[in-house]
Amino acid sequence: MIGAILVAINVLVAVFAPVIGRWEPQLLDVKARLAPPNPTHWMGTDDVGRDVWSRVVYGTRLSMLVGGVVMLFSFVGGIVFGLLGGYYRPLDNVLMRIMDGFMAFPPIILAIALMASLGPSVVNVIVALGIVYVPRVARIVRGSVLVIRETPYVEAALALGVPDVTVLLRHVLPNCLSPVIVQGTFIFAAAVLGEAALSFLGVGVPPQIPSWGNVLAEGRLYLQQAPWLTLFPGAAIMACILGLNLFGDGLRDLLDPKMQGVANSARPS
């Protein structure tokens, strides 16, 4: 419940960022550089006088965008590979070895390496993180497909001459979705953390774009003079990830009662 509320708040902030933000996130208030929180700048300003509140609010928008699109990206890729691998045995060996290969990289390392080649941009962050999480979804889908393809109703459908594609999409896919959806919230959280970490390291979204990671990267340089640059975006990340983790745990208990209590939350970087 608390999880759902926190997630809802994040989504609302993201949608209404221009209204809530009060300031343009790029606007320089040169007279008020590194200003502490005050009635004009609720969360203070950064080293070039940009409003931190506005950058955190727009950062929420970016995080929700990255989390959401990475989740969908990994769903589409993971479901395609998982269905193919689980259903067609000869393909399975090749596909799953490739997925294993990708999973041999720690997520953040693979993301950094991909960003090195793709170059810093929002789209590339999404692509890089998407590639990182596709194999993880594929593994889950494949596992379910292996079980479902042996069920009598699939056998019946095949005996009736239903084409493979229809069997896969209409009979197999819907039955392997619930673990994927549960995993989705954790991928969402991991993608938000991934973007923040990449941007913090300076290899994520370009520095002028407001992102929690970017504000934290600036904040690191002014930790002593301007702790608000670290504290506020930090609180935003924590609230967001906590919300997603709680939401995911709740969703899992709801959709998959067998898994109750099994620790599976998002792994930060």
């Binding site: 997520p107 390392i109 950094i112 960003m115 990340i237 930060p268």
Partner: protein, 314 residues
């Protein structure tokens, strides 16, 4: 048992083949011609052409790929463009801080996570359990680099107990070294301890529901003996897997933490290489980390095998 062992060891080969291919593709994924990227913006066309022949970039891609495999098998990761020295040398030099940081963090994660998980399971659904699990959930929601920044703020800037950043080499003594790694290791390990606590707790709870636990209680064993002697032995197996992987996971986390605390380890190396577009270094670091990760996973599986006879006979 032997066939399983052999199969498990051999399974590493295709994984490493994919890893090598992915790292090869990295440089070809970058926009532009690899030779001009490597030569840098100031290079003349002749220089670029010479480099292209030197690196074998005018060969067809499959031939290049085969050469790449061949070089890797010989342990040759090429030369850094920026540092002008072999990549393996550059990595070896940066290994000490990263390995120490990861080891300390693993130790912290285990020493906090395992007892917290056991106690939570023993006092299931009490205030102790709920507060530990609440803490664990918060722990899982803090990115390690943020925890690092907050620790610098509190212990470095406000309380001035510990140095805000930097690394003291092991050559200068164990204590100064450990002191410089204390905050980085805690911020890296604490988050992981939350995961370990959750897994230990849930596997303890599963085991405590088993018949043989009921039997040992029925014959009048003390609760202490039931939990620590009978339940723990079986419950610890999934935890051991996580502990094994913890080291591997934390190598990834160390990359970020090194930036927070300015530690000159492998993580700083790869980040500065990304900013300088020093592809051989990026490829080298990524490969070594993936290799380590894979070998640790293999090792964990083999340990698992010796610990749990049920898997051995399958």
């Amino acid at each position: 048992m032997q066939t399983y062992l052999l199969r498990r060891v051999l399974a590493v080969i295709p994984v490493m083949l994919v890893v090598a291919t992915v790292t090869f593709v990295l440089i070809h994924l970058a926009p532009g011609d690899p030779a001009s990227i490597i030569a840098g913006p100031d290079a003349t066309p002749e220089n670029i052409a010479r480099l292209r022949t030197h690196l074998g970039l005018d060969e067809p891609l499959p031939a290049q790929l085969l050469h790449w495999y061949g070089r890797l098998l010989r342990g040759d990761l090429g030369d850094s463009i920026f540092l002008r020295r072999p990549v393996t040398e550059a990595i070896l030099e940066r290994l000490e801080p990263t390995l120490l940081l990861t080891s300390w963090a693993t130790l912290i994660a285990v020493l906090i996570g395992v007892p917290a998980g056991i106690v939570s399971a023993r006092y299931h659904n009490t205030a102790v359990d709920q507060s530990f699990m609440g803490l664990a959930l918060i722990g899982l929601s803090i990115p390690n680099f943020l925890l690092g920044l907050l620790m610098i703020l509190v212990f470095g800037v406000w309380l001035r107990w510990l140095p805000v950043a930097g690394y003291v080499s092991l050559d200068l003594g164990l204590w100064p070294n450990a002191r410089s790694l204390l905050m980085p290791a805690v911020s890296l390990g604490l988050v992981q301890s939350a995961l370990i606590a959750r897994i230990t707790r849930s596997s303890m709870l599963d085991v405590l529901r088993e018949q043989y636990i009921l039997a040992s209680r029925a014959k009048g064993l003390a609760e202490r003996a039931v939990v620590y002697k009978h339940a723990l032995k079986n419950a610890i197996i999934p935890t051991l897997t996580v502990i094994g992987i913890t080291f591997a996971i934390l190598i990834g986390g160390a990359v970020v933490i090194e930036t927070v605390f300015n530690i000159p380890g492998v993580g700083r190396l790869i980040i500065s290489a990304v900013l300088r577009r020093d592809y051989p270094v990026i490829q080298g670091v990524v490969l070594i980390i993936a290799l380590t990760y894979t070998l640790i996973n293999l090792l964990v599986d083999l340990v698992y095998l010796t610990l749990d006879p049920r898997i051995r006979y399958q």
